[in-house]
Symmetry: C2
Subunit: 239 residues, 2 copies
DNA sequence: GCTTGTCTGTCCGGTTCCGTACCGTAAAAA
DNA sequence: TTTTTACGGTACGGAACCGGACAGACAAGC
């Protein structure tokens, strides 16, 4: 990860884009553009959060890891959100592993600056609290989906969520990585990917999933996809 | 549900108990004691939240229901917390079903009063934001647990969480209800309950689970139990 | 008492998914 | 180029859990 030059608005990150000009102006001098690398670890459990990240065309995963080696993704952060939300909740440390899933650009900000602006009780506070609500709903829906819905449907949903965040049909992902996110076997992902390919929804190459029929996938996934998406759109003021 | 006389501090609800006297004094005139009934519905999805509830010795479940009839609990609220947290996040409507699981006393408060106090940016704000963080961690851990851990362990964890909240070893619960919370079959709960009984951890009567060996259960459950409990204790300032 | 409804124990075939392993191939490194 | 590594397809026995059903046991109401 390396800092680049300053980035200019309009940001493609929705939280930053939703800020009124004056509020944005206070943050602007402190925003740093970053290019993230695939698999890069943003936070680790119990370690302090020093910066928050506003993804632009990247996707970041919050992953729960168990002591026996299991892992599942419990939340996703893309251009609609911000990492490290617990900082504004008064807990400047991460509770989970947070890592870059699909690399691309992001903007980062020191926690102290964020908190100062948050405590002005202005637009940023309102936006971040609403975002917290949507994130909570996403995690809750994931909890339900993990229990009630089968793996093929969950994989399809996950691919659509990736697509929404990086705004591309080309997703550089290995089966191994998807297996970790969904909490299933690598071999399971391979089998499911084939069936989705037979339906014409995706193409699966080595290290690259290409979405070929978004509408087909949308018809295949469970309700969880639309529920979470609607919640984020409302948070966004785009309901 | 029927309003009772006013309740006097010290409250056994930890959020109310943590308030400084002056902050509490502003809320006190508006607090109403309630006795809740088993199975009573507190909120429904998309309906406005008019009151928030501070359980005292009751336990309230946040339940996700799918269109095909499935259901799972995604969060639990007891004396450590408050229902309707989304109100302070700027969304005064529920996203899920919220219902009384183990009945007993609680205190309720109109949302408007809560919000006014929250926006003073004093102790209540800080306490509720930290509580939000712990709740988020609980939901996230549930998402992981639902995917990675087997039913017997999850049931054991759930019983311990009940115990912590109502502070009693006697839990008036039917297998049917537990099945809904865990997202498994009723028959599955019956089978698991028997094995836990054979181990001497619990006794299962008709509509009543009695915890007989708390330590045994604690040794049986997955790490998720301790992780979530630790997070709430820290929120509580009891770390 | 008897009846009725609720709750629990038990069973069975079937499905999903796991754990593990092996091999071929594509990509990267030497 | 050759070698090495990473990735993906495939297979197989087994475990966990489901859907559905049935009957016995208990509790409440008549």
């Amino acid at each position: 990860m390396s800092p680049n030059e300053k980035i200019q608005p309009p940001f493609q990150n929705r939280i930053l884009a939703a800020l009124p000009p004056k509020d944005y102006a206070r943050l602007a001098p402190h925003l740093q553009a970053f290019t993230m690398e695939r698999g890069e670890v943003i936070y680790r459990p119990n370690l302090p959060i020093e910066h928050v990240y506003f993804p632009i065309a990247s996707m970041i995963s919050v992953v729960a890891v168990t002591s026996d080696g299991g892992s599942v993704e419990v939340g996703v952060i893309g251009r609609e959100g911000m990492t490290g939300i617990s900082a504004i909740l008064g807990v400047p440390r991460s509770t989970d592993d947070v890592m870059v899933q699909l690399p691309d650009s992001a903007v980062r900000l020191e926690v102290g600056i964020l908190l100062a602006e948050f405590q002005r009780a202005g637009a940023l506070q309102q936006i971040l609290l609403r975002y917290t609500h949507a994130l909570m709903k996403m995690v809750a829906q994931t909890a339900a989906c993990n229990r009630l819905h089968h793996a093929p449907v969950r994989l399809a949903r996950w691919l659509l969520m990736c697509r929404d965040r990086v705004q591309s049909n080309e997703l550089p992902l290995t089966h191994e990585f998807m297996a970790m996110m969904l909490g299933i076997r690598r071999a399971g992902v391979s089998e499911i990917a084939l069936t989705l390919q037979e339906k014409g929804f995706i193409r699966s190459k080595r290290g690259l999933i290409t979405i070929q029929d978004k509408a087909g996938l949308e018809g295949f996934v469970c309700e969880c996809y639309a529920i979470v998406k609607a919640e984020f759109n409302q948070t966004d003021g785009r309901a």
